[in-house]
């Protein structure tokens, strides 16, 4: 098995004052008063709990590339209707950036490579609120065909994430800046994670058909 690639630290999220301001704005956003004036929240994030990046101000670096927004945003009638103002870049790993963003009822994780390619998906906000990590299994280029990768984001109380290989080997994916990524050249069969109570959870990986 080739070496595990780990997440380098992204620039630390600072400014507690900004966080407090964003929290206040978030409280306003959650009020349901149809007669209230519409408040444009230029800097606050979404309302999914457990992901610190959503509570800080949006930087220019957080915005989704135009091609990604074209597919995840309101221009795609069969997409999740992601709001660009909720997008946050949570981590960078190797040559990819990991983003989170919210749609009308969806929580999305998106991985953008430096060649302009990307992959990602969305689940329900209610599920993202449940304290589980949001993981995607995908394939990446390698000299001998494909490597296997599991990547995603995790709420702050998730303790560990790992990819379990066919031979039972558990390859850990350290969670840094709320994101994790594990790439191997052996196929994974399950994604495992440990919650705040040290309970282990497992999700099966659906491998591609054999060609």
């Amino acid at each position: 098995m080739r070496g595990l690639r780990r997440l380098p630290l992204v620039a630390a999220i600072s400014a507690a004052a900004l966080s407090a301001g964003a929290t206040a704005a978030l409280s306003l956003a959650q009020q349901d008063d149809s007669n209230a004036p519409v408040v444009i929240e230029a800097s606050s994030g979404g309302d999914t709990d457990g992901f610190a990046a959503l509570d800080r101000a949006q930087n220019a670096d957080d915005r989704l590339p135009a091609g990604v927004l074209a597919r995840f945003g309101p221009d795609n009638s069969t997409g999740p209707n992601v709001d660009q103002s909720t997008a946050r870049k949570v981590a960078s790993v190797e040559k990819t950036d990991i983003y989170i963003a919210e749609g009308t009822s969806s929580f999305c994780t998106i991985n953008v490579r430096d060649d302009g390619g990307w992959s990602g998906g969305c689940t329900a906000k209610t599920r993202a609120d449940s304290g589980q990590p949001q993981a995607t299994f995908d394939l990446v280029d390698s000299a001998d065909g494909n490597d296997y990768r599991v990547w995603g984001v995790a709420p702050s109380d998730v303790k560990s994430a790992a990819l379990v290989l066919k031979n039972g080997t558990r390859v850990p994916g350290p969670i840094e800046d709320g994101a994790f990524s594990v790439t191997t050249d052996d196929a994974g069969t399950a994604f495992m994670w440990t919650d705040a109570q040290d309970i282990e959870h497992s999700q099966q990986v659906v491998l591609p058909p054999t060609q």
């Binding site: 091609g67 999740p80 749609g103 995607t136 995908d138």
Partner: protein, 147 residues
């Protein structure tokens, strides 16, 4: 007084009927052609519809690119906007020698998509979607819209 015999009247009526039928036929043909032109125009203007792959595909379902479908650089599996969460939602694209980067799978999602700028819109390969019950599948390769 010129009298029209019943037989002549009948022939005249028949001629009139034939003429009327011809006009109706011509009008109908024009309508059909017009609608067809409109339908073709509407289809080509809506790439996401023309690139529809299938609904509720079983394991190994394929949409062949370059034969009936254009080559795709953008792939999407979706239960629809805000649609139900499914156990797994996958989209794998095989380029003849390897799976395209981004081909992948998620659990408990309702939307999965990937895009590769290096994929040829004219490529002749296939897309496979694995066990996507309740999912509608699309591919898209409009070169006017980069990744």
């Amino acid at each position: 007084v010129f009298k029209v015999s019943p037989s002549v009247r009948s022939r005249a009526s028949l001629t009139l009927l034939r003429s009327d039928a011809k006009r109706k036929t011509v009008a109908l043909t024009v309508l059909v052609l017009a609608f067809g032109t409109f339908a073709i125009a509407a289809t080509s203007a809506s790439a996401i519809t023309s690139d529809y792959c299938g609904y509720n595909p079983g394991s190994g379902n394929q949409c062949y690119e370059g034969s009936g479908y254009r080559g795709w650089r953008y792939h999407q599996a979706s239960t629809g906007s805000g649609g139900p969460i499914v156990a797994s939602i996958c989209a794998y694209s095989w380029n003849g020698s390897a799976y395209r980067p981004g081909s992948g799978c998620t659990s408990s999602y309702n939307f999965y998509a990937f895009c590769n700028p290096s994929d040829s819109p004219n490529g002749n390969s296939s897309v496979l979607y694995v066990n996507n019950p309740g999912v509608t599948l699309y591919g898209h390769a409009d070169s006017r819209v980069p990744c």
